[in-house]
Symmetry: C2
Amino acid sequence: MTIPAALAALAPLLGERLSRSKSDLDLHSRSETHYAPVPPDAAAYPETTEEVAAIVAICAEHSCPVIGWGTGTALEGHALAFNGGVTVDFSRMDAVLEVQPENMIARVQPGVTREALNLHLRDTGLFFPVDPGANASLGGMAATRASGTTAVRYGTMKDNVAGLEVVLADGRVIRTGGASKKSSAGYDLTALMVGSEGTLGLMTELTLRLQGQPEAISAAICAFPSMQDAVAAVTDTMQMGVPMSRIEFLDAATVRAFNAYAGETMPEVPHLMLEFHGSASQVAEQAETFGDIAADHGGKGFRWSSKPEDRTALWAMRHNGYYAILQSKPGHRALVTDICVPMSELASAVDAAQRDIAASSITGPILGHVGDGNFHAILMVATDADLSEAHRLSDQMVRRALAVGGTATGEHGVGVGKLDYMAAEHGAGWDVMGEIKRALDPKNILNPGKVVRLNG
Amino acid sequence: MTIPAALAALAPLLGERLSRSKSDLDLHSRSETHYAPVPPDAAAYPETTEEVAAIVAICAEHSCPVIGWGTGTALEGHALAFNGGVTVDFSRMDAVLEVQPENMIARVQPGVTREALNLHLRDTGLFFPVDPGANASLGGMAATRASGTTAVRYGTMKDNVAGLEVVLADGRVIRTGGASKKSSAGYDLTALMVGSEGTLGLMTELTLRLQGQPEAISAAICAFPSMQDAVAAVTDTMQMGVPMSRIEFLDAATVRAFNAYAGETMPEVPHLMLEFHGSASQVAEQAETFGDIAADHGGKGFRWSSKPEDRTALWAMRHNGYYAILQSKPGHRALVTDICVPMSELASAVDAAQRDIAASSITGPILGHVGDGNFHAILMVATDADLSEAHRLSDQMVRRALAVGGTATGEHGVGVGKLDYMAAEHGAGWDVMGEIKRALDPKNILNPGKVVRLNG
């Protein structure tokens, strides 16, 4: 038995910070989605990089799986210990180590959440822009290459992680990237680690790019006769170079759920919600420019404001959309799809998804990041039959996305939930990912069974 | 002999497109910088991906080095055949394959130059923003992770390559990334290949992100008492969220060279030149905002315009700077340094470089991309003693950059010129680069001796 030997060797290192209590194992067995609980053999709570390196070195010696854990908000089973082993919980590595305002970067430990970082930054005039919705840990967000509503303006974690400290599968510690804005010095190990879901290394420190807090923010809302019209308005606006900071799409079913949830009477047609960041005059001009373009595409009820209280009211439907959908079907859980397609394919992808859902036995309102071509169907399931139907619908969406040059996952990651699509999406490129994994983790101890499949 | 066997096998595949003529070998032996000519054994001119794959497969069979070649503008000896072998010249793979305006991408072959692409795009309302100065091939720019004057706004090749087709060291062809704006589907092979300088694969197709041509452009110029003041003005402007599209620094020596070259009488003090892209009102507001900030930092002679002819006049010193410097020392060549440091370290890095150069036996005006922390000293050399002095100065700059968290190369790449600094810059991370190289190119045939050093 290799795992017990690893645990025996870890115990003196970590003391009571190596836990096998039922509550700790339960906590780390759970996912926010439909996966049945899968407990690890133990949970470790390191406090330093050196401890993480020692944990991994011991686990390597005993071929014991090591799985990183942030806040447990991953949606595709990323952090579940399907092969047992030790879950490394980064909750005690939650310090903002340094903010360098001149360089517009922050160095943080992986357990810092994005909200905690932005709270820390509130008096600096800077903020960290990536916003996946959940108050996830920044280590987890980097590991899954997360993004969210602001990616259209500020990019994803790929664009906002400037450097990393990483513990490799043999316990070596490397530093990648740094505080310089750019470099051509060799292979981009930062980018290789971001999105590797803990299969190539465990991040123990992140250097993150910050943005200046905008002087002014305007928010806008507009109804459209169809998704096609909404997408056309967004495409035209982007091609005019108008920098939108958020552009969110809500379908009629989402509006219906929101009306029921909030006692509102919004027209039950597709809506776009937008946000612009800049100077007061810029955000006014940008909102009005969008309003003009929207009108050309049949937009109705366009409203905008730069006053905080009005902005919150205009965006209420988006902020409450997910909860409104969950409450619309008491006793149900959600299976959330995550395809992303080229912008030219977005309207037809949403249209096809809506038709499939309408023809199915379950419901699934759609919302998404229309500036990125990424959308989520919130497929509502209560029974095994519902779950099976949701998987069938999700499978249809993914296959259609891949057929038009899209991806199975725009921002949630592979985990185990999207593993079956990687060969179709990447072809021989998936083999190359496996070759890299084998080179850097020959014993396959780092989050085994995720992202890649190794033969032998 | 392995190389002759490879050439014998390649001849029937390529016919006269495998050349061993003196003129072809001479062409591919030369660098724009100080390296002595190093001819390959042959130059191949493939016309299709399949031919590139066949070339690499044959070379792999015979352990023959394969070196990619774009336009020959690399500065660090990247494309020189120090181990002999076959140079694969992509000049016949120069087609713009497809422009997708809705997705704001173009698919191009690697031999397309950036100017050729922008000429192709001129009626689309779109452009490709990365501008390294030289009219380099897009394949070469991706291979070296090039950037240039617009990186402060639009990013480097890292940010602007959305996908690739790559021939691997065993002749397999993979496709990475694609037309979707984002993806969390596994390791970022696109980012791994960008900047790998032909050591992990040969790019045979690139999918590039395009930008909307700005409605208006304004240009500005301002003199500053010191580099410190200029950097402080830039930092304040960035933190206010004002999007500058170009911010170039010229030191007093560059202004002096320009005055002599152009018969001008600009004040011989540090200058900044800026460009803003946006709507007419935005670029006016942005230029004026910068002017106000510059005045707070001792800026003098601030002028701006959005009229094309005035913009060209305002930027004449930057456009002609390099040539003015070269003409200031007839009979001299240039060794161009390329360090990049965190913004907080830029002023002192420039200051230290200027002092070292002033105390040396050679001259070296400095210009650079002040928004990125990247600058170039144009070290003028005529004799071996000058070259040795230039290397000593360059070495001092690099060591100082590394000591403050900077990089040996902001945008030119490693080639062989920066190889000796990689261990100091990356520590164990350089070993990891070597492990990836060994996994993907076990025979070390792809541009051997560049970026990484393999032991055995």
